[in-house]
């Protein structure tokens, strides 16, 4: 009787092998914004193992069906699990073969339901998801957190991106950004994150989704500048330190 109660997971701390306690391999921020023709999304390719920058070619953005693009931060294995759920969802949608297809709004809501239900079972998928897409000319950009909080906006970011990138976007985003301006704005955000987020790596991808489809760029690096005068003779005010 006692062991049965513990297995329910609500009370005891034994039998907790059934619930997620903390993430292991994690991705850092994802930043995305709406522009003239659709959505632009950027994420670096790092997979951290605690404080170690362990994996440097992790693709954290994937196309979903014809109309959507999903970016994730947090536990990479949970992201892969979500991709499997969505794969099945899109497969059944295509099997109807009836001219109807799931758009970004539908996928976003489906993900919200999944995340919230897992949270209710105390076994969350440890991710913050960014879902963007275009269908029938309508642009859509939304976010879902690991506890099922979801919302839509003109620009979104996860993790550190919320603190470092969103303020920049609030100041500089406007309707009908051109592709070039959108990329420049995203790169500005990613550069700040590269300087200030310890789990960021200098290898990123930018993805765009328009009515025509999804394009994910090949990996590239941002130029950084370290020649600040404060970095010359950093110990001049504190002899003996390093």
């Amino acid at each position: 009787m006692d062991s049965k109660m513990q297995q329910h997971g609500l009370l005891g701390s034994e039998s907790d092998s059934q619930r997620t306690l903390y993430p292991y391999v994690t991705g850092t921020s994802v930043v995305a914004l709406k522009y003239k023709d659709g959505i632009l999304m950027a994420a670096d390719m790092g997979g951290s193992y605690g404080s170690t920058l362990r994996y440097k070619t992790v693709e954290r953005m994937k196309a979903i069906g014809k109309h959507s693009l999903l970016g994730a931060s947090g536990e990479i294995s949970d992201f892969q699990e979500i991709l499997r759920y969505l794969d099945e969802l899109i497969l059944y949608d295509n099997m109807w073969d009836d001219g109807n297809s799931l758009g970004p709004k539908e996928v976003h809501n489906y993900l919200t339901r999944v995340m919230y239900n897992r949270r209710n079972k105390f076994n969350p998928l440890w991710n913050s998801l960014v879902l963007g897409g275009v269908k029938n000319g309508q642009k859509y950009l939304g976010m879902v957190s690991m506890i099922g909080v979801n919302f839509e906006d003109n620009h979104v970011a996860t993790g550190f991106g919320n603190h470092l990138a969103r303020p920049i976007l609030r100041d500089e985003w406007h309707e009908n950004l051109s592709f070039e301006d959108g990329v420049k704005l995203l790169e500005k955000c990613m550069r700040v994150l590269l300087y200030r987020d310890r789990s960021a790596v200098n290898k990123l991808q930018i993805a765009k989704i328009t009515e025509e489809g999804v394009t994910i760029s090949p990996p590239y690096s941002l130029k950084t500048f370290w020649g600040f005068s404060a970095f010359h003779n950093p110990t001049v005010g504190a002899e003996g330190s390093w």
Binding site: W96, D98, G99, N100, L102, G103, K105, E106, N109, Y110, R113, N136
Partner: protein, 279 residues
């Protein structure tokens, strides 16, 4: 059709390759009171004849709203129809909750058909004894489907089911080429005319029929009796031929009946106190 030794079980084939129980279920649909449906590019109209058993009782509900964008009219065993409507409402609301988007009609109809098929292949079940006219809107436009007890479904421009539906079908067959581009008003007028055809001489009044509409920018809803009676008055008395624009003050044209059948109706209408200006 006559009784034979292969019609006891739904899971027994006849030597001619027929499932008699399923065919008998379709007979049940033919015994129910008429229901008709027709659609244009942007609207779908459902109508049905509501006969109460006696003057003391109310009439049965045969048109159900399934969701804002889908409605259904039934003919046959109304109890079976209610159960299937509840199933359809459930499917729609579950889809809406998960995807925040309306369930495409075509998919609901397939789910309904598959549910009906199950009952034709289990020895402990019987087929549903109800035919459903499903009207709905989705991304690809306005649709009208007919779901059979056999588990088949078809898409229609216009259709009628139930008793004396052949008369309505004949009327609709003559006119259906124009339906795609019809206005909402013309569509409702054609629906009322089709209902009248199934009444075979009886006067058409709003107390014995129900009309429902769904369209672009218009949620599925049943028109209230007052509105229906107004339309009957406007369309009916204004001449049942090709007069397109309905006039409320149709006094002048009261006597101008061309067809004898329509004439009898008109006389009947005046007699029974359906005064044209009674709005």
């Amino acid at each position: 059709m006559f009784r034979n030794q292969y019609d006891t079980d739904v899971t027994t084939w006849s030597p001619a390759g027929r499932l008699f129980q399923v065919e008998y279920a379709m007979e049940a649909v033919k015994q129910g009171s008429a229901a008709i449906g027709l659609r244009s590019k942007t609207h779908v109209v459902l109508g049905c004849v509501n006969k109460a058993n006696s003057e003391l009782s109310s009439h049965q509900k045969k048109i159900f709203k399934v969701d804002d964008h889908i409605g259904v009219a039934i003919a046959g065993l109304t109890a079976d129809g209610r159960v299937l409507s509840r199933y359809m409402r459930n499917e729609c609301i579950n889809y809406s909750f998960t995807y925040e988007s309306p369930l495409p009609v075509g998919r609901l109809v397939v789910q309904l058909a598959d549910k009906a098929q199950v009952c034709t292949q289990r020895s402990w079940k019987r087929p549903y004894g109800v035919g459903l006219l499903v009207a709905g809107l989705d991304e690809s436009g306005a649709h009208l489907y007919y779901n059979c007890p056999s588990g088949n479904y078809f898409e229609y421009q216009a259709f009628a089911i139930g008793s004396r539906s052949q008369a309505a079908k004949t009327y609709l067959e003559r006119r259906f080429d124009n339906f795609m581009d019809s206005s909402r008003e013309d569509l409702i007028k054609d629906a009322l005319m089709a209902i009248r055809e199934t009444l075979q001489g009886e006067t058409l009044k709003s107390s014995i029929c129900t009309v429902a509409v769904v369209g672009v920018g218009e949620s599925f809803h049943i028109l209230d009796q007052g509105t229906v009676q107004q339309m009957i008055d406007a369309f009916d008395i204004a001449g049942e031929q090709e007069a397109p624009a309905p006039e409320p003050d149709a006094d002048a044209e009261q006597g101008a009946a061309a067809e004898p059948g329509a004439g009898a109706d008109q006389v009947g209408a005046v007699d029974e106190g359906v005064a044209p200006m009674d709005i």
